[in-house]
């Protein structure tokens, strides 16, 4: 259970998660954006919260669930690659012999499991985001979802996470520019040739030069 919670939170770039599912709300006093839900969790006997702090130590975003409208691309959880996230989560019942996973845009980024012999029903912790997402690699908004299932129950959660930063200084931007320039060059090189056959015939006749103008 702890693994699942930590996984969703960390792998999800700190989307935070508890154990099961709800809809989260933002703390209007700290969030720079309007109060909107940013997380979905199911079923309702799971709860959680998370706080994202940027590299300067200021609270960047905060979300709790249940209590809101769920994950929405228009209201992502803001994440600073230089910051940390503090999270906590609980489940209504202990989930033992569980397996958990975290997907980022449909791609599994973390997974694991535990027998949870201690019958724990809560977890908490703090994670450095740079341990999972180095700065200046990529920015953008991503859909993060995950679930834990095992003996005693299951929970799933999802959120949109927006990685803050200037896209123009990321490695992904540089790669995109290089690919774009290569594509342009190849588009030019890939243009159909004209009069190719004329040159071939001329070569066969040993006249690679055009006749002199008279």
């Amino acid at each position: 259970m702890q693994g699942a919670a930590g996984a969703l939170l960390t792998g999800a770039a700190m989307a935070w998660w508890a154990t099961p599912a709800f809809a989260g709300t933002r703390d209007a006093s700290t969030a720079p954006t309007p109060v909107v839900p940013g997380v979905s969790l199911e079923p309702s006997n799971c709860s959680g919260s998370g706080t994202v702090v940027n590299g300067s130590g200021q609270v960047l975003d905060h979300a709790t669930a249940p209590g809101g409208g769920g994950a929405s691309p228009g209201n992502p959880i803001l994440v600073d690659p230089n910051g940390v996230v503090t999270y906590e989560g609980t489940s209504g019942t202990a989930i033992t012999n569980h397996h958990w996973y975290v997907d980022l845009d449909g791609i599994e980024v973390q997974s694991g499991g535990s027998p949870n012999t201690g019958m724990e029903t809560s977890t908490h912790g703090t994670k450095k985001i740079s341990d999972f997402l180095p700065a200046h690699i990529i920015t953008g908004t991503y859909y993060v979802d995950g679930a834990i299932s095992g003996t005693g129950g299951e929970c799933s959660g999802s959120a949109y996470v927006k990685i803050e930063g200037d896209p123009a200084v990321t490695a992904a931007f540089g790669l995109a520019v290089v690919l774009f320039l290569l594509a342009l060059w190849l588009f030019y090189a890939g243009m159909p040739d004209e009069a190719e056959e004329m040159l071939d015939v001329a070569d066969e006749l040993g006249q690679s030069q055009p006749p002199p103008a008279r």
């Binding site: 845009d105 243009m191 004209e194």
Partner: protein, 88 residues
């Protein structure tokens, strides 16, 4: 010596692939298109490949420069030259 066009569908496909990848990256990092599954970006990449193949086959023609060769020497017209007027 009929004029023909020689297409380059493979070059075009690679160009389209790279263009699709770069456009997908731009969409991703600028949050211009948020999806739940990265597979959606395969549509962009696939469209790029199709456009590239069509470009390589039916795109505007590129005039290829003739290869450089030794200069053609043309002698002065005069006695003995073919086509020269007969001496008066």
């Amino acid at each position: 010596m009929a004029k023909t066009r020689k297409g380059h569908p493979v070059k075009g496909a690679i160009a389209g692939l790279l263009l699709g990848l770069s456009v997908s990256l731009f969409l991703l990092i600028f949050s211009l298109w948020v999806v739940k599954n990265l597979e959606w970006y395969a549509i962009v990449v696939g469209a790029g490949v199709v456009v590239g193949i069509l470009w390589g086959l039916y795109g505007p023609r590129r005039r290829r420069k003739r290869p450089a060769g030794p200069p053609v020497v043309v002698g002065p017209r005069g006695a003995g030259s073919p086509g020269a007027p007969p001496p008066v």
